[in-house]
Amino acid sequence: MKNITLTLLISILLFSCGEPLPTELIEVTNTSEVEFEAVPPGSANLDYDSTGIVDRNIDKSIVVSVVGVRNTNFRTVQTEGYYYAIFNDKSNPVQTANGHMLGYKTLQMNSVFFNNFQARKIDYKLKYKIGSVYLDTLLGVKYFASQRMMNMMGRMNNFPYAGRVNFRVVSGPGRNIEFDIPTPSEIIGRVRLIGNRNASDEYFDLEWNSEGRGRVEIVFATINQNGEVNPLMKVKGNDNGNMKVPFKVFKNIIDKDNRSLVVSFARKIENTDKFTDDSYIVSESIHNIRIDLP
């Protein structure tokens, strides 16, 4: 009996160390492959893009962006279109004092046209932060047009969703560029807050008109009393028309002084080096929805 007891005690010591192995399960939902990504601060282009989606530091010689925007501010709806082009001089990079790459000085063309509407030449400034101080640096010019400008000139009333925007650059004989930029269908979203905050199961129910293919980006931004938008987080998911984002993600963002959010739905078509060498050409549909949280 002593031997048995001893065997039992040794067995308990030897074999009882492990824990039951976990079983790995695969999640099967209709909102698969959701990516969360923080948006760097100060990246919003307040002129036309509250989302900060457009990365101005794209390392390409030609960067062209056409954006159709719908802004829903409670019951008010406004539509707008923005068109711009930047020609980077990649032989002339701009860096901060500590060597951080900011971008490139830009090149100037004779003229740039979007759907035969000549874009304006405006300053291309880059805002960056050193310590707690924001600094502007002038990189050169960018070519810019808006839907409102086009309307005033009677050229094009609405952004051509699910169509094309003709882009033409005149920079001298043999150096002209022309191609059509395909545009996505317009995205129209809806935001609802569902669930019980005390039970920690409250979530944003995001719905939009689905294309059934490709991806969408949804950006969450705060908006201050001056109407300044600060994009915080980008969520990418399949363009299937629905996404749920837990409210607790914004636990540190929403407080009694800051109860407004801007939710931006974006559908885009990106083309890299397709129409011309070393280029990044993007067309987007963006729907910005401002909501005040209870």
């Binding site: 039992l8 009882s16 790995e24 999640e27 959701v34 990516e35 923080a38 760097p40 601060p41």
Partner: protein, 619 residues
């Protein structure tokens, strides 16, 4: 498995303490062993208690979600961990008889859901997303009832509930709603068939009132080896949520010897690659942590140790029968004649010497041991229980509990049983004339004094010989008494001599006992003459030894029909006088009546030859 999964009623044959340890082994991608359960059971008579700590009864899941987070240096997948475990269980059962057992079990389940979710932080200079882990728990108690019916040596049936009552901590979270263990109510029925103690088959069915359905069927075979018992068997199981129809095989083998059992077994699934998606977990759920759609092949090694604070049992009672009532005054007869007989079986594998013992409350002052009996292995024998009477002063007839014990070589008895015994009062008599002797002897002190007082009233020369003493004593005795036929309305009651003197009367038994005691106490031999009358009332009177030889007959009478000649222990003939003690008109009449009766019944009717007249000497 020895546990609450298949034994809700906690049916157990544990005699004392039993310690059980079960280890689980799995080899899924990597080898893993863990303590499956550690349990202890303790029996207090028919009450049985069981407690189990079960770290291995668990099912853990990791759900790798399709949600990713772009961290500064990498992309992280969010995950959710779900841990189900049965932390401990306890049960109680009561054995109403060797065939009926009722039990109640309680089990505590823990469910934790650890969910990772993104959380956004931002400052003036930086926005970043971190991963926050949130843990929710949803624990509950499960209680069930079970019954066992052992109909005979062959068939036994068990019935138990599934999730009879659930006591849940309040939790209304989404994770709890989606992933909680299923607690569908149902019943579990099984029956077991034994054959020759070698083959045993078992069939069980689990019926949930909604979705859950399962059954199992198995066969065991036992044989002796190396002084122990080997049992090998296989169980086939069906589970509605697993494919194919017979989804698993559960082989096992065990070795039992001297209070310990080592067993090994396992569960082998026909298909291990069942759908492992969150969808199936949410839709089908988990009904059992022991066997569910996500369980994989597993081996078990179990140790059962009967911690014998009680020694091993060698023999046990089958029953005890009471052979006779107890008559306190007849105490000495129980030294030679058993008052009870026990049927005892040797359940060990060795020859056992059994020392039976008994204790009758109110009669014995201590345990009375009976002669040792040797029993061969497996044999059943009858064991006699003798006793002595320590206290004869029993005034009323009553029923007392007698305790019967079987001792082997230990200080504690191997088995014990209690039976009621009828204890008569001190005047009760079993009707056997031989046993009147005890009434004679019990009052010698009184009768000796009484006889001497009478004789002392007479001159020494008138009491010099035995005949004269007999005559004087009888005359005095008869003058002070009268014959009363059965004063207590019972032929089974006899007065002690002092009672007869005090009551101044009695029936033939009382008077014969009294006069016999008066003579015996002063050294005069007497004998009872039992006149048996099968159709009527029996009668008893006395023969008294005058110590005269036949040649001296003339000294007392000329009529040789008035005496009986008997040889003493030296072979010398002596003259005995028949005395009819119910004739109280004097010695002469009693002698004459006694002689007439004796001559008529014993001699003329050949009573002595036929056995209808018996002479019982009082020694």
């Amino acid at each position: 498995m020895n546990g609450l999964e298949g034994n809700i009623s906690n049916f157990s044959n544990t005699k004392d303490f039993e310690l059980m340890a079960s280890f689980s082994f799995q080899n899924e991608n990597r080898f893993n062993s863990n303590l499956y359960s550690l349990s202890i059971s303790k029996a207090f008579g028919n009450h049985n208690f069981y407690f189990r700590y079960s770290p291995g009864i668990a099912q853990n899941f990791i759900i790798k979600r399709s949600t990713t987070i772009q961290l500064p240096d990498t992309v992280a997948n969010l995950k959710t961990e779900i841990n189900y475990s049965e932390k401990f269980g306890t049960s109680y059962s009561y054995k109403f008889s060797s065939g009926v057992n009722l039990g109640l079990s309680l089990r505590y389940f823990e469910q934790t859901f650890r969910e990772e979710s993104p959380i956004l932080f931002y400052t003036d200079s930086v926005n970043y997303i971190s991963i926050k882990e949130e843990e929710l728990s949803d624990n509950f108690w499960r209680g069930d009832l079970g019954f066992d019916f052992i109909l005979n040596d062959i068939l036994s049936i068990s019935l138990s509930t599934i999730n009879l009552f659930i006591s849940k901590e309040d939790n209304s979270s989404e994770a709890s709603r989606l992933y909680s263990l299923k607690t569908e109510k149902g019943i579990h029925a099984s029956f077991q068939l034994k054959s020759n103690n070698k083959f045993m088959t078992k069939f069980g069915y689990e019926y949930g009132f909604d979705k859950y359905k399962a059954f199992y069927a198995g066969l065991n075979y036992s044989f002796n080896l190396a002084g122990g018992i080997i049992t090998a068997g296989t169980l086939l199981a069906h589970d509605r949520f697993r494919q194919p129809y017979i989804s698993s095989v559960i082989p096992s083998i065990s070795f039992t010897k001297d209070g310990y059992t080592i067993s090994a077994g396992g569960i082998i699934y026909a298909l291990n690659n069942t759908s492992k998606t969150t969808e199936s977990l949410v839709n089908d759920g988990i009904y059992s942590l022991f066997n569910n759609p996500y369980s994989t092949d597993r081996a078990f090694v179990n140790f059962n140790l009967a911690l014998s604070f009680k020694s091993k049992q060698f023999v046990k009672f089958i029953d005890v029968s009471i052979d006779s009532d107890v008559y306190p005054t007849l105490s000495e007869i129980y030294l030679n004649k058993p008052f009870a007989t026990g049927r005892v079986v040797n359940i060990s594998n060795e020859i056992v010497e059994v020392r039976p013992a008994s204790f009758i409350n109110g009669i014995n002052n201590e345990l009375i041991y009976s002669p040792v009996v040797k029993i061969l292995p497996g044999d059943t024998v009858d064991v006699s229980f003798f006793t002595t009477i320590s206290n004869i002063e029993v005034d009323k007839r009553k029923i007392e509990q007698a305790d019967f014990y079987l001792y082997t070589d230990k200080s504690e008895p191997d088995d014990y049983i209690q039976k009621p015994v009828l204890i008569h009062d001190k005047n009760s008599w079993d009707g056997n004339v031989f046993n009147l002797i005890y009434f004679v002897r019990k009052d010698f002190e009184f009768t000796n004094k009484y006889s001497r007082e009478i004789l002392n009233k007479y001159p020494r020369e008138s009491t010099a010989d035995v005949f004269r003493k007999i005559k004087i004593l009888y005359d005095e005795f008869s003058h002070s008494l009268e014959y009363v036929s059965d004063p207590r309305s019972s032929t089974e009651s006899v007065q002690f001599p002092h009672e007869t003197i005090e009551l101044k009367g009695g029936d033939c038994d009382d008077l014969s006992v009294c006069f016999s005691s008066m003579l015996e106490s002063i050294g005069i031999q007497t004998a009872f003459v039992d006149y048996k009358n099968l159709g009527g009332v029996s009668h008893v009177n006395l023969l008294v030894n005058t110590e005269l030889t036949p040649s001296e007959l003339f000294k007392i009478t000329n009529n040789d029909n008035k005496v009986v000649v008997r040889k003493n222990e030296k072979g010398i003939d002596q003259i005995w006088l028949p005395i009819e003690t119910t004739v109280l008109s004097g010695f002469k009449d009693a002698w004459t009546a006694g002689a007439d009766k004796f001559n008529s019944e014993a001699i003329e009717k050949l009573g002595l030859s036929k056995g209808t007249v018996i002479i019982i000497d009082i020694y």
